[in-house]
Amino acid sequence: MEDWHWQLGIAGGATTAWVVGLAFLTLWLLELRSIRGESSAFRRFTLGALGGLSILAVYALALQVTLVREAFEEVAGGTALLIDNSRSMTLSGSSGERSDAVRALIRKWQDDDRVEPLVYRFGSETRGAIWNDLADTYDPTDDETNIREGLSTVLERGIEQELGSVIVITDGADPSFRAESLSLHASAPAIHSVVIGGDDRLDDQAIVSLRADSTAYVGVPAVIRADVRAIGKLREKELSVQLWHENRLSQEQWVALDAEGRGDVTFEVAPQRPGRALYRLVIPTHADDEVPQNNGRAVLLRVGRDRVRVLLVAGRPSWDVRFLRDFIKRDGSVDLISFFILRAPSDLTAAPTNELALIPFPTDELFREHLGSFDVVIFQNFDFAPYEMEAYLPRIRDYVKRGGSFLMIGGDHSFSLGGYGGTPIEQVLPVKLPAGGGVVTGSYRPQPNRQLIRHPIVALGPDPSLTRRTWEALPPLHGANAIAGVKEGAQVLLQHPRARLPGGARLPILIVGEADRGRVAAMTADASWRWRFASDDATVGSDEYELFWDRLVRWLTRDPLLEPARISTDRDRYGIGAPVIVSGLLRDERYRPIANERVSLRVEPTRDEVAGEVTAQTDLDGQVRATLQGPTAAGAYEVKAKADGEDIAAEVFLVEESGDELANLEVSSTELQAAAKRTGGRVFLSINDVPLLAELAATTRKTAGLISKQPLLHPLFLFLTVAVLALTWVLRRRWGRR
């Protein structure tokens, strides 16, 4: 009777009930008054009581008291199946492979056609699947287990689908999952879980995680940290971790595990060469280890120099030298070694050597012993001949061709005036030198090459128009070295507004290029310091001077941010066969966006047929994005972007046999049980305990309308009422009352 509620059927509701009630009460009081003269007390009592009962009965009938209750009905609700698609489901235990257990369960459920669930697979992402062929198509390959994301997706969609229950089939190997993080409303469907492997504990040692800075520096110790864990009976075994580098065992450490079988180990490495360095951490596989795939992980360090090393050699002190050296010296990311010729052989110092603060020009030290340690060598108005440097010029050429950078800045000791014509230095310079020297005099404002105005070295404004205006506003330069021409492949970034080369082209002022693997630049003017030292407040210069030289030095050292094209992968490391999402900005060598063009993205080296190549379309800005099938063999890979048959950008990534997915394999049902408790679901730790799907499929209670009844219209009540009225009438007549 708890669900019943009473209502009054009389028109006017409670107010009418009160009025009618008072009226009947008055009637009964009048009745009592009319029988007051009756001599017999028995008759007075009987007539008064019967009159009261009659009035009360009629009053009750007049009120039309009604009992009301809402009715519900149970209908069959939707059922969603959420299946773990991560790679940990491929592991095998004593009872066989987890994925086989899932397939067997699906087939068992499919035999009972009473329920056809909605099916989802979850892992790196959650997506739908088809129930009918699920047993055949189930092939877990995802690199991630994300139970929360899977459940949230299904619960969100479930509101529209009127889900009654969600059944999660997983190994529970998701240490980040917390039941309390689920948003569950009052009518949320029941969450049932089938924990695959819950009754089959693994014996495993694993490298759970690996941490290292992605960038390291030559000669500077870098730290690689690894978290390890052991489960099952291997928790009691000793565990060692080896560090391998370039196919050689470099270090090995024993790890002390805590009570939960966890521990960590730290290796310190000191990369010796710039570039990419691959380090592998390996736990030697124990005979009882059921998952040897997670015993090794790798880390790829991008090794650079902690600071860019610049060698600046100046033929004599000058303002151009002073301003450039001061600027480079202020840059904390640059390690500057400068050497100025303070005294020429013809200078008369009027002092013995011990009164001079001059040191011999350490040519052998700079150009033989340490040349390779410099990222950039700058010759600023420096002539080599007086310092017996002919023997070192081939070394400088070879240094550039091997990947070094070289910049020559103008002056009366530079280019052909410095005697570099026909030397090994000319072989790497981006310009051809005239036989007889020569200079261009007079002041001028260099103009950026219209074709290369987007090049970062000269792009001083946010767009070509403002860049052009900025160059027009800079203080003028004065004079320049004459050159005979520009070498093939070199780029003229700045030009003289009036002076011409013999062929009629404008005289180049700033030329950049490449010599084999090295980068080279030639700045034929020697007065860029005038941009920094200007009188007029309105004149631009100071900032532009620093921007220009900063960009030029960074371009020479191949700063990735100044490369015309660059791509990146969505992650540094992937599991076997995992999709690799590549995105990037592609511009041609003139820094113009490669817009609306099809470019090739290819993984190298190609070790299998699966990992391959895709063709993607760039947008108007040169942006590109594509997904490649990842390699199926562990190792270090490079994805290259190719346009017009040439590689224009590359990025490296790792493929690991293990990875995070196989790092945490401990089956955990705790949080799944918490989710079941919150929603009235059930958790099955053994697949043998799982009932048919129909038993887990939920019913949904739907409202079926209102049920009402009027108990006072019962015939017995009506009979009693009539009987009391009749008895009252009869007695009144017999006892002489009307």
Partner: protein, 255 residues
């Protein structure tokens, strides 16, 4: 007249010596605008002595070092764009001067901020007028960085010559003073009358006697002036690691 072979040889040798001593005219064909110019600052009208000092200083710098300054440097004034014709200004004075205008003080500040260097030379032989004016105006321009003595181990004492202490025409105080701007000293103030030790008359003779050390002190003064020019051009170059061991050994304190 025919000279004997011995006389001819002597003349030839003399010509060679003269050629080697006389600075060669600038090999730079880029024009004056890119050369090093030691500009004199005109604060009061009609004082040409500063310019004669900068000419002598330029000549000495060119003769002794690889720097090739303009041998006929110009002049600059605080009130116009001529101030920015060169990052090196030589400001010599002997007497009290009127306070600079606000525009001049601002120009001085801007000049240093953009990389300029100022050598202030008190030629007053100890009187207080010019010294008071210099301190007053520099404090107005650089209130946060007042003049401070330059320590005797500063690069300025080994930018070219190894020097123990500053001297000019006068022995003066045992230190130079300077205003540091960023990592460099942007203003050097000497109370030793450096210009007085450098000046020559029109016939090439020294204009003023150097006291108390005579010609040896004059040579030290010239060396100091050259060091200051080299410091302005190279700043702390001599502090670079590559130079330190050599200089330490020469000073007798190295390995």
């Amino acid at each position: 007249m025919i000279l004997g072979s011995g006389v001819r040889s002597a003349c030839f040798a003399l010509v060679l010596v003269c050629l080697s001593v006389a600075p060669v005219e600038s090999a730079s064909a880029f024009g004056d605008a890119t050369e090093v110019e030691i500009v004199s600052l005109d604060v009061s009208r009609g004082d040409d002595r500063s310019q004669s000092v900068t000419e002598r200083l330029a000549w000495e710098v060119r003769k002794r070092s690889s720097v090739e300054p303009m041998l006929e440097p110009g002049r600059a004034r605080l009130g116009d764009d001529s101030l920015f014709r060169s990052p090196f200004i030589y400001w010599r004075g002997t007497d009290e001067i009127a306070p600079f205008s606000e525009e001049s003080v601002d120009a001085l500040r801007r000049y240093v901020h953009r990389g300029g260097f100022i050598l202030v030379d008190d030629g007053s032989a100890g009187s207080e007028g010019f010294d008071r004016a210099v301190r007053r105006e520099l404090l107005r321009a650089f209130p946060a960085t007042p003049l401070k003595p330059i320590p005797d181990d500063h690069t300025i004492y080994r930018s070219f010559y190894l020097l123990d202490r500053p001297v000019g025409r006068l022995a003066g105080p045992e230190f130079l003073e300077g205003i540091k701007y960023g990592d460099r000293i942007a203003i050097v103030y000497s109370r030793h009358d450096l210009g007085g030790a450098l000046q020559r008359d029109k016939l090439g003779a020294w204009s003023q006697a150097v006291v108390p050390g005579g010609e040896r002190q004059r040579e030290s003064a010239i060396r100091l002036a050259i060091n200051i020019v080299l410091y302005a051009l190279c700043t702390d170059y001599k502090d670079d690691q590559v130079h330190a061991p050599f200089i330490m050994r020469r000073r007798g304190s190295g390995p």
